[in-house]
């Protein structure tokens, strides 16, 4: 591929009027990190395609990704286009709704070579998103940024391609469902069973209730300034406990207990 004729600029504050938002699922981050760890020794960074869909409100939902082998030197970048197309076809056999929405690269910031790659991807999809994942933790944290390209032109003459940053929404809901404890530590000895998980949740709930209790006590005794919005929130929460007559509530609870008890006994007997 020829050297780039365009220059790439990079702007950090989001001043554009576009309301484009990128939603990134945790699987994408996992994929990118895994590919980075497995990259060939001479490569400094990993480049790959992002798959997902565009939601009706314009948000780009990035759900999956795969790495594409590439060769990079000081001013040239070569991407294995056949590989990219083959993987795309394979992925679409499983999930035809996943389409290309952009590309990713590891490392902080946008480089000259990125403009070329971005141009290639803009031929595949109208407005590709460029995601950078800083695996080097250069700012002391792992920064994940997304950019779109905007053409800068003067009249009819195109001057440059500008990478504008767009906000990224990291949807960690799925990761939360699995449990961050399992995904965070380098080694987990066993997956927690139902009751252990239940215990952990109840402990968290208990801790929260204790905190709220302490806060209310502090406010009443005058140690902390009272915040009326928090107070209203707390009263709403307490009021949302349904007000049943104690007898009705007891009956409800006992019925449920009986049902669970019967099924439990049934389970034991058939064992």
């Amino acid at each position: 591929m020829a050297a780039s004729e365009h220059t790439a600029l990079q702007f950090t504050p989001v001043l554009s009027s576009s309301s484009l938002l990128a939603k990134v699922h945790p699987l994408v981050i996992f994929n990118i990190c895994d590919c980075y760890v497995r990259r060939p020794d001479q490569a400094e960074r990993v480049i790959g395609t992002l798959l997902g869909s565009v939601l009706p409100d314009g948000t780009v939902d990035i759900r999956n990704s795969y790495a594409v082998p590439h060769n990079e030197s000081s001013d040239q970048v070569a991407l294995d286009i056949d590989y990219h197309h083959n993987m795309l076809l394979s992925h679409q056999k499983v999930n035809p709704k996943e389409a290309i929405v952009g590309w990713y690269s590891t490392g902080l910031g946008v480089t000259g070579g990125s403009a070329l790659i971005h141009e290639f991807y803009s031929r595949e999809v109208p407005n590709p998103i460029h995601l950078t994942v800083d695996t080097g933790f250069r700012n002391g944290e792992g920064t994940i940024k997304a950019y779109v390209s905007v053409n800068l032109s003067l009249g009819d003459c195109q001057l440059a391609v500008q990478f504008q940053e767009i906000p990224v929404d990291l949807r960690m809901v799925e990761a939360e469902q699995v449990g961050f404890d399992i995904l965070k530590t380098p080694m987990v000895d066993k997956i927690p069973s139902d009751l252990e998980g239940m215990e952990a949740s109840m402990q968290r709930l208990l801790a929260l209730i204790d905190d709220v209790h302490k806060y209310v006590d502090d406010v009443v005794e005058g140690h902390t300034a009272s915040d009326s919005s928090i107070g209203r929130f707390i009263s709403e929460t307490v009021a949302s406990l349904p007000k049943l007559l104690p007898s009705a509530f007891d009956k409800l609870v006992n019925d449920n207990l009986q049902l669970c008890g019967y099924l439990d006994i049934g389970g034991f007997l058939s064992d």
């Binding site: 294995d80 469902q177 699995v178 000895d189 139902d194």
Partner: protein, 340 residues
């Protein structure tokens, strides 16, 4: 000098000739990446059941699963079968180019409420076992995971069962001989989860600061009735199937005893005939007659199906136990909240 080298040569030969005893599989180590991929694939297509391939390494007594890829939903068409094989080869080739472990170690499949013990599962196992020395099947249940539990299981067939299956002989005495009962068909292997340092750094950072997570919301939900209902429905269906199997066995035993009675009667008649012939000085007739239909052995129905059904029932019961345990906890919590 010559003696020494002679000794060494002998010991080398001894080493080369002793067979390596493979250590038994004790734990399956899965990467967080694989778990997320499996969850994504199974959830996207739920309630349809989907499968995929597991890739990784077989190291000593640990089976490491480092990556996986999903299979497209297969149609029953003949030409699409070839497509399926092509897809698999293509995926493995592409993944090898990005340095992913190119070694198949098993497959994963999703299940509905734990009803996965079928003959197809056993046959798939046997197919895989022919090519791979150690393979494992990971079962994921998306419906149970809505309750806040990560319902992931690693299974493999026990060796004794595999030998028996190969000989295709499931009669009662063979099973009694081997002391094999329905619990011995599948072995569940404990799962360990591992993550690379890079990804654990990212996840630690990306973890939301809120003290309570989606997982907790799922677990503390009070309505479990639909889940329990479906579990009990499945349980009832399994009981029906089990009773049908038992009826089959009763029928077989009744036929067997009737046939034996017939054989005895025929034998008596033959013996008395022979006595008469001996008295008359003629040759006695043989005491067996294979062409007589009452001597035809009746095939014993295979016990495999009833074993599998019993396994499923046990699974459902365990699930119900688990859910009721959770419900008890929740109800007591509610009671305490209300009282205060």
């Amino acid at each position: 000098m010559a003696n020494n080298s002679g000794n060494m040569a002998r010991s080398f030969l001894q080493v080369a000739s002793t067979e390596e005893v493979a250590p038994s599989l004790r734990v399956v180590q899965i990467e967080g990446l694989v778990i997320l991929k499996i969850i994504k694939h199974c959830k996207e297509f739920s309630p349809a059941l989907v499968t995929g391939q597991l890739l990784g390494l077989d190291v000593g007594s640990v089976l490491e699963v480092t990556n996986c890829f999903p299979f497209p939903i297969r149609e029953e068409d003949e030409e699409i079968e070839a497509d399926g094989a092509n897809y698999q080869l293509e995926m493995m080739r592409c993944l090898r180019e990005v340095n992913v472990d190119n070694n198949t170690v098993g497959w994963y499949q999703s299940t509905l409420l734990g009803s996965f013990q079928t003959v197809e599962l056993i046959e798939t196992f046997m197919n895989y076992q022919e090519n791979i020395r150690r393979c494992v099947c990971i079962i994921y249940d998306p419906s149970r995971s809505n309750q806040g539990v990560l319902a992931l299981k690693a299974l493999k067939l026990s060796d004794a069962f595999m030998e028996l299956y190969r000989s295709n002989n499931f009669t009662g005495e063979k099973l009694r001989e081997r002391n094999l009962s329905w619990v011995d068909i599948f072995e569940e292997i404990p799962i360990k989860v591992s993550n690379s340092a890079l990804i654990s750094a990212f996840m630690t950072e990306l973890e939301a600061d809120s003290p309570i997570t989606q997982c907790d919301y799922d677990r503390l939900q009070l309505s479990t009735n639909p889940f329990m209902e479906r579990n009990v429905e499945f349980l009832i269906e399994c009981m029906d199937e089990l009773s049908m199997e038992q009826q089959k066995f009763q029928f077989y035993y009744r036929n067997l005893s009737r046939q034996q009675a017939q054989q005895q009667a025929w034998l008596q008649k033959r013996r008395s005939e022979n006595m008469a012939r001996k008295a008359a000085g003629e040759d006695p007739l043989p005491e067996e007659d294979p062409s007589n239909p009452i001597f035809k052995p009746i095939p014993e129905p295979s016990r495999l199906d009833s074993f599998l059904i019993t396994n499923q029932i046990a699974n459902f019961c365990n699930q119900i136990n688990g859910v009721s345990g959770q419900s008890f906890n929740r109800l007591y919590l509610m009671k305490a909240l209300q009282d205060s």
